[in-house]
Symmetry: C2
Subunit: 224 residues, 2 copies
Amino acid sequence: MLATRVAWPYDPSHMDDLGAELDWTALLAMQPALGCIPHALRSSARQVKAEAGQVLFRVGDPVRQVFLVVAGEARLFRFSSNGTEVVLQRARGGFFAEASLDSRRYHCEAVASVASTLWAFPATLFRQRLEESAAFRRAWQSLLAQEIRRLRAQCERLSLNGAADRVIHYIECEGIDGEVMLHQSRKSWAAELGLSHEALYRTLRNMQHGGILHVNGARLALRQ
Amino acid sequence: MLATRVAWPYDPSHMDDLGAELDWTALLAMQPALGCIPHALRSSARQVKAEAGQVLFRVGDPVRQVFLVVAGEARLFRFSSNGTEVVLQRARGGFFAEASLDSRRYHCEAVASVASTLWAFPATLFRQRLEESAAFRRAWQSLLAQEIRRLRAQCERLSLNGAADRVIHYIECEGIDGEVMLHQSRKSWAAELGLSHEALYRTLRNMQHGGILHVNGARLALRQ
DNA sequence: CGTACTTTTGAATCGCATCAAATCTGGTGG
DNA sequence: CCACCAGATTTGATGCGATTCAAAAGTACG
């Protein structure tokens, strides 16, 4: 009962021959929280250009790297008993496998679902820095705590029935004072909200007509 | 533009006059991960019996306690600009406000939505132990990492369209080898899956008739 | 200028939420 | 022990809203 595995050959050495320069400042502007990462660790990161379908790691592989999605999407999943994929995370614009820092081996598969740009931090150095630097440790713990809060809010959002309710919840949680600046396409926002993109477009239109929402490009503001 | 606040008077001293003995072993059996908590911290926890609607803390209150839900449910929320509640977390059977350890003040409101039993750990001692003990720190980080993995999987589960898909995803992720033991009522499980309890009952029935699922009390097993 | 992707609207279908009600369960007190 | 009650479980009927399929227009990029 073998599963339909991705066609890509699994060759970790693929990731080593792409040593493009890293644009840290641009990334930092998008994700200010990354500022907590020490310089030594930062400069040891390697940029990885992954093609669509490329395997990043497999179940049981020793944890050598922690990843950061700069562009594209990585999909983490396990194979269920009947061979189908059970998606654990669709990482887009953030860390993944960072919770594997305290594991010796990966507990799931990771594949770039589209052509993606990733940063790979060496796990050993990451652990070492966490042990050495109390400041980095505190910042990292703060990052983890922030991620937990964000995820819990997202779970609550996804358990709302109405599309409009999810939009409102998102703006209230991720924005400031009923106003938010979208940093992604509406299509991918729809995926984050657990909606089809058509449903999101229609909901936004109806909310505008109803006077609940004001849209100005990437800027969304709740009225009243 | 005042919101419809809960009727309960906010009196923190309510929580101090209930010093029932703590049943640590029973709790540990339910949540083995709690074993990482040092004895000194464990014994400093106070049991809190909260009535339905009782306020546990408010936005801006100094972070004095980290909570663990033993029975019942705590609801964390913020008031949106138009006064409605935006639920950030419905904590049932686990920690909450533990991500506030690195904050000086709570960033949301917390109310027991039903009559609940909680444990309150003093935040100061918690932070202190985390600084002192490297073992506890590692265990705690491991607990946070585990929570992140769990939440990400739950988000993926909630973004699945079909009720049966969510059930399968749950069993594959939370169970072992396509088999899981439910530690809660099906009604509350339905809430966790983002479904109405009727939809869950019907789905379970259909899955049994379809031969996909085998149900034996609290034991659910996927077939094939 | 062509290609790939996003944005937008339409129509039809289907599944889940909702309301309603009956049964079953565990626990409490007379 | 039984009456009683609150809550969970289970089934039915109905309506709405999101998904899906389809297609057109807009947009970015090489």
